[in-house]
Assembly symmetry: C3
Homo-oligomer: 358 residues x 3
């Protein structure tokens, strides 16, 4: 397991108080057991080392409560009694949220050492503006008139092109490119290898050849957005490509030019959204799904993994379109038959008429 969560132990009481302070007011949590228990790792239930804390949110894993070697369990009220019978526990009205906030506090403890300032090897244009509390890593490139906000962190080999703007407390990881004129909001995380602001895919056809339409827009990313590794978000053709506040994109996602993604929408890995699509707020798009261009999805639409959206969706709900997996020989038979499906329907109709007439 990673060394990074093996920190100096903290007492369970200190941990509990620190997390509770950061919980939303609507979430209630109670510590049952000694606050002096030392905790030095957050662990999966089934692999908990000594001095660790683990969580069970799903009743499915209830049976592991008795066998886990964790010293403290984070549980829902429904599991509280069983957890208490074995030792210390934190009973929370939303144990998964308690766990999430705990991981944030834990990671923050590890980051204490990071010093602000610009590494001597970074190449910073004299017209760029970098907050004194920001950190710029080795061999980063900061272009003309680029701006880096307070407490922002720009890692090794990242490249901010001219007029790029990075908001406060945003973390740009290694080898990210933020293209000229593009904006990333506050408290964002942009993972390694992301390309923001490459040209959208726009060409006019003339005499069998493609004539480039220069992409004159930019990318505008809101606050609290997370973007996964090697994901690409293209600049708009004339207007901007817009990613709303709180959006979460996983790795290797492709967002075409002029796309708008509504607030708090999440997309899993390998999703492709073609140009000028408008995705609503609070949507989810499963891994490998494709959304064609110029479509509109209203708020609260949920697309299953690997499904293909070929028409606009005007009604919230869950939508799916996946060929079911089968063993290969069964698939071959059904796939061949599928090509006759329309004619099978016609034969069925004919037969229905014959039988009803007969």
């Amino acid at each position: 397991m990673s060394s990074s969560h093996r920190l100096a132990p903290v007492s369970l009481g200190e941990l509990f108080n620190a997390v509770q302070k950061k919980l939303p007011a609507s979430v209630h949590a109670t510590l049952c057991g000694s606050p002096d228990i030392p905790i030095s790792a957050i662990a999966p239930l089934e692999l908990a080392p000594p001095a660790s804390i683990a969580f069970v949110s799903n009743v499915k894993y209830e049976s592991l409560i008795d066998s886990t070697t964790a010293d403290c369990l984070i549980v829902s009220p429904a599991l509280g009694k069983r957890a208490k019978s074995r030792g210390a526990c934190i009973e929370a009205s939303d144990p998964y949220l308690f766990f999430a906030v705990l991981t944030q506090w834990w990671r923050a403890r590890q980051r204490v050492g990071l010093e602000s300032g610009v590494h001597a090897s970074a190449v910073v244009d004299p017209t760029a503006s970098i907050a004194a509390t920001a950190t710029v890593g080795p061999l980063a490139v900061i272009g003309a008139y680029a701006e880096v906000g307070e407490y922002a962190r720009i890692d090794a080999h990242a490249c901010l092109e001219a007029h790029a703007h990075i908001g406060a407390n945003t973390h740009i990881c290694s080898q990210v490119v933020v293209g000229f004129d593009c904006t990333v909001g506050q408290r964002c995380v942009v993972h390694a290898g992301v390309v923001i602001g490459a040209d959208g895919f726009g060409f006019a056809q003339h005499a069998g050849e493609w004539v480039k339409i220069e992409q004159l827009g930019a990318v505008l990313i809101g606050d609290d957005v997370e973007i996964g590794a090697n994901t690409c978000i293209d600049r708009g053709a004339l207007g901007d490509t817009v990613i709303g506040n709180g959006v979460k994109l996983d790795n290797l996602v492709q967002i075409g030019h002029n796309v708008h993604v509504g607030e708090h929408t999440a997309m899993a890995g390998c999703v492709g959204v073609a140009g000028s699509a408008r995705i609503g707020a609070h949507c989810t798009v499963g891994g490998g799904a494709i959304v064609l261009g110029h479509l509109t999805l209203v708020d609260n639409v949920h697309i299953s993994a690997a499904s293909v959206v070929m028409r606009s969706i005007n009604k919230p709900g869950v939508y799916t379109g996946v060929f079911p997996l089968d063993n290969n020989s069964a698939w071959e038979k059904n796939a061949v038959t599928l090509k006759q499906l329309h004619s099978l329907r016609d034969r069925l109709r004919t037969l229905e008429k014959a039988v009803s007439c007969g």
Copy 2:
């Protein structure tokens, strides 16, 4: 909106003359209205700021002509009368092409400031050959015997490995890798994060393990090719992987080893082409489509988005294979039934015989 198309205003007459000079002879355009109107932005029809020019190619958007605040409209002859009735317009036999050439001229005006030369922080092998008119950005790496042509532009953190060759007027964006021995032609654009010349995926099996086949070929990219961000083009196993002139690849496309892509073929985002496939000229491949290995597609084949090509295609046309999206509960019913499709066909046959005999 991006600051980059807010340039100092130009007169409509100067704009028109400049674009007309670059239009193919077969395209006709006429300016109707005062050549003195100042233009400082190219804008989308529905969001046009003052002093802007917009275009309408699609009759679908005709209704926006009266309400747009653009100072000049680029229109087809069919829409000329309506456009003239509201103000200045450019009537073009191919308005989309006029618009494309306009965006090129506009972007060229912005690029005036770029100075040629090698940035002091770039690491250039003494045996490399870089044209005096080329530009090499900060922290780029140019390997042994690499060649960079006239007016080529190599951006920050790009890496040209040994014997890589970049043609004249080609733009290699940030953090592109052009592998050893690979060639990129003239007037190409290679967007950020592209990897040209990684090893193809070739292994022999022996005793349940994979034995590497070293990939001894290279990648050969023609002229006027555009390659989208984070796309990968693998080097050939023995011969070369070949991308023809005028090919356009979008972001996150995967081109396997030994693939040949014919001239002026375009592929949208997230397409995967497996090893040794031969794609013809003037083909299009929609986003997320997969082409299996060792297949041949003739010229003028068009594959719909997210379709899977499992056999060679010998006839031009449009080909599709996508499970239609449905609400999830309807999909579940149909997907389950799909596994019985072959037996349904058999039952239908039996029934047909019964009825015809009966």
Copy 3:
């Protein structure tokens, strides 16, 4: 063709002896013909330049044996007679494996010139540990307490974050990021643009927004693993993401957090494996396939290209789920009918009852 396999000629005898020494004992090979024939290229059968060696493993290509201009052919015993009748040949019990080992020996001849040591422009933390025989390329960044093993090679712009560990003889290509605490084993090849150790995609939902779960695990990669360009492997949430020995991943593959990939499993390009999936050993996953999260695939499961795995697979075998490609108009008819499939089945049942009763 690439210049890199046009080396100074070697005699066929020297080549044969060198390869034979590296073959597994179970593979037998015999040289028929003069050992003095000079060989300066390994070539495809149909494009063999003078002084080249080629291989034919597939009886399908037998007809090319007479027409090829290669000076020596590597063939199976079944083709030995025919090959000998035209000139020199190497008869091998496994000609494809002989060819694989030959390419390895050939490539090794080209690498002779590479000097070990750390390039002056690399930025190496004073606490990092780099073996004296390792090579660190220009502008690479090696973080605090990172370790680079004997004969390892770290190319230009690669970034090893704090506590990253690279095993002996491993090749980290340009612009790879190996995240903090992550480990890559021995004799691995990690191609350009790969991101190892970005955060897994983990969020708790609260009041319609996503609350980040910090990813506290790491990535643990075994020995003899190859990872294709721009592939991403996320760090675990609490435990580690684990890639077994001998695994081969192609380009643009996404491996979610906590995934375990068993030994000697291979995945083609554009595959996505969602979080916490467990893939067995000796599996293959075809290009563009998607494996959903929290599933288990036993050993020796083979998923066809572009198929979607939505349930665990407990039995070895070949599994497929792809909508068959058709010309677009035929597809449209069948796709529309597919939405009625469940009701067609019901109608068929009704009809069956009517007929059997009638």
